[in-house]
């Protein structure tokens, strides 16, 4: 059956269920949002159905541009950090004994059971002046007095990476564990140092997995909404925060829908570009 195209009514029918669910829970809500983004905004009120481009024209502000660029930047940076730490980390895990691998993976998975809210508040406590880690350093004599390490950009980046890291490892684990150990061994037999082997052979042969992990973390962190409010300063608020403010606090559904659609469009283009670059490089190396 694998690899064959479904034949006959029965095979097609099994596909209707996922298609129906996709339609009900994804395509219909998305279509509604797309429609609302063209509706007419009643100042101070709600909206009236219609068709106009005003909401998209209203996006043309320095505030929106700045926030859009920042959101993409912070997501890209988090993805880069997660992948550059996660890749060697996962590689070492896959070289361990089976039991140790399971322990590490279960530990990482347990982080996934924490919600963004809990992670945000936990980090704001750990980075605080009154109850945070700096008190521990003072006690150890490493610092003179306790300081607050939040709110700020580093705190935000830290929080986001903490949330996204387990996903990075989970995406990288299957391809890395499938990597033929004969490849790095051969390279080392031919005289390459372990570090050189890692960068040329392991990284080189898994370029696609790295790009996939990068894109996954990038898209995942684009939606960060609570962490920027808890761990960041107002200039670190992401587009998700502005979208929620417009939708909920200003009841400006048309503007928030337009922001969301434009944001998604830009992200999709960026993801497509990244994938294309990944593919082209692969063709070159082959």
């Amino acid at each position: 059956m694998i690899g064959e195209k479904p034949k006959g009514l029965r095979a097609h029918l099994t596909l209707t269920y996922p298609a129906l669910m996709l339609g009900i829970f994804f395509i219909v809500p998305f279509g509604l949002m797309a429609a609302v983004s063209f509706f007419h905004r009643q100042p101070g009120g709600f909206y009236i159905p219609g068709f106009e481009l005003t909401n998209y024209k209203n996006l043309y502000t320095a505030l929106f541009g700045r926030t859009l660029v920042f959101s993409l930047f912070v997501a890209g940076l988090s993805a880069a950090v997660c992948v550059s730490i996660g890749f060697p980390f996962t590689y070492f895990i896959t070289r361990m004994k089976r039991r140790a691998q399971v322990v590490w993976l279960v530990l990482l998975m347990s982080v996934l059971s924490l919600s963004e809210v809990i992670v945000g508040f936990a980090w704001s406590l750990l980075l605080s002046r009154t109850a945070g880690l700096s008190n521990l350093f003072v006690w150890l004599g490493l610092m003179e007095r306790a300081v607050a390490w939040y709110p700020g950009f580093m705190a935000l980046l830290f929080g986001i990476c903490y949330l996204a890291f387990p996903y990075t490892v989970l995406v990288l684990y299957p391809p890395l564990s499938r990597l033929d150990p004969a490849l790095p061994e051969a390279a080392q037999t031919l005289g390459a140092s372990p570090i050189r082997t890692f960068f040329t052979v392991v990284v080189g042969s898994l370029r696609n997995a790295i790009v996939a992990a990068f894109v996954m973390v990038f898209v995942f962190t684009l939606g960060a909404y609570l962490l920027p409010q808890i761990l960041g300063r107002p200039r670190h608020w992401t587009l998700s925060v502005l979208i929620t403010d417009a939708a909920i606090y200003q009841t400006n559904m048309p503007l928030s829908a337009a922001m969301a659609i434009f944001f998604m469009f830009v992200s999709l283009v960026l993801v497509a570009l990244t994938m294309m670059i990944g593919k082209r490089k692969r063709i070159k190396t082959v």
């Binding site: 009514l9 029965r10 029918l13 099994t14 209707t16 269920y17 129906l20 009900i24 905004r41 009643q42 100042p43 101070g44 009120g45 709600f46 502000t61 320095a62 505030l63 700045r66 926030t67 704001s124 605080s128 002046r129 009154t130 109850a131 607050a148 709110p151 409010q229 808890i230 107002p234 200039r235 608020w237 502005l242 403010d245 417009a246 939708a247 909920i248 606090y249 200003q250 009841t251 400006n252 559904m253 503007l255």
Partner: protein, 355 residues
């Protein structure tokens, strides 16, 4: 096989369609929305059981998120002919926004005889005079501080601008719920009249921008600030007088001060969604809530300011001053956040805060 799948699909489709049918049809309880957390808990404990005992009307309390978020849900539900709650406690900004789309069922005051006790400002009206809401509770936003960090209480909103408060304030993040424009106007520009023009609003925002280095947290949710205030991490800011009072009563090192320019007085009103079919029960409930002794009970147990005239409540001077103040309050300029200027003000505000 095919038949089975088809049957399954039919069942699923039927289930989805059925979910859309209002569940309230079979339900005879009056659904009352109150702000989730401390407010709803207090109502569940002190108010609703007595009401049911006296009238026989069952109450199902619904936890509201912030008023703005609840308005969006009510509005969307009403478009589909649904009412997530019949009677809702709504803040004034949200009352006015709902009025713009005729969301609230107009009241017949004859059905609410106890309205005679209310303060005149506790009756909300549509522009054409129909009654859209009845005052439920009043509350103040005041200047709060951590008593361990600041040994003496601040006396003026202007204290927030002082250089020694660097990186130590928690303020509400939105222009329409922080009322910081009004606070700044009253403190530095002699009153709220300066907010009548765009130029004036921008002047006030410039003054507010000077405050930014002192702000550590711009919060959207009270929970974000309360813990930090109690621990002294963020030792000062604006907060709700009633909740701060409760925290102090629990032994936390927190005080709430009415600054000499006045606290910000805001209030919640009872509003009935036009999609509700329980207007008769709602009248009985609202009338009950307007009784002076119930308002006094709310002041004593929940710490809110009464929406009825003070002399009928029977509150002692001490009780009254713990929920209110003789200093004339700052009254929010709701028109700015609900009128034609609202989108412009929100845009400028976000630019100012995030720059």
């Amino acid at each position: 096989m095919t038949k089975k799948i088809l049957l399954m699909l039919t069942v699923i489709t039927a289930w989805i369609v059925l979910l859309g049918v209002p569940a309230s049809v079979a339900d005879d309880a009056l659904k009352v929305g109150a702000y989730g957390g401390y407010f709803k808990d207090s109502f569940d404990k002190h108010i609703f059981p007595d009401f049911t005992k006296e009238t026989g009307i069952k109450i199902q309390s619904v936890a509201e998120p912030t008023g703005e978020a609840w308005l969006v849900q009510l509005e969307q539900a009403a478009r589909a002919g649904q009412a997530p709650a019949d009677v809702n406690m709504m803040s004034q900004t949200v009352m006015l926004r709902g009025q713009r789309t005729q969301l609230w069922t107009p009241y017949d005051l004859k059905e609410i005889p106890n309205h005679k006790y209310l303060l005149p400002q506790s009756i909300n009206r549509y522009p054409d005079g129909r009654v859209s809401g009845i005052g439920a509770v009043g509350w103040y936003i005041t200047l709060v501080s951590n008593t361990n960090v600041f040994k003496t209480a601040p006396s003026s909103w202007a204290d927030m601008w002082k250089p020694d408060k660097k990186n130590s304030l928690g303020l509400l993040a939105l222009v329409s719920n922080s009322f910081l424009l009004e606070i700044t106007a009253k403190t530095f520009f002699g009153g709220c009249d300066i907010l009548n023009s765009k130029d004036g609003i921008l002047k006030v925002m410039n003054k507010l921008a000077e405050l930014k280095p002192n702000v550590k947290l711009w919060y959207r949710d009270e929970g974000q600030f309360q813990q930090a205030l109690q621990s002294g991490e963020i030792p000062m800011g604006q907060y709700y007088h009633d909740v701060a009072g409760l925290a102090a009563a629990d032994g936390h090192p927190v005080r709430s001060t009415f600054p000499k320019e006045g606290g910000v007085y805001d209030s919640g009103s009872w509003a009935v969604s036009k999609a509700s079919k329980k207007l008769k029960e709602a009248y009985i409930f609202i009338n009950y809530m307007c009784r002076p002794e119930i308002q006094a009970k709310l002041s004593r147990k929940v710490g809110t300011a009464p929406t009825v005239k003070r002399d009928v409540t029977g509150l002692t001077d001490k009780e009254f001053s713990s929920v209110s103040s003789d200093i004339p309050p700052i009254i929010p300029r709701y028109d700015i956040y609900t009128g034609e200027l609202s989108d412009w003000v929100n845009q400028k505000w976000t630019e100012m805060v995030t720059k």
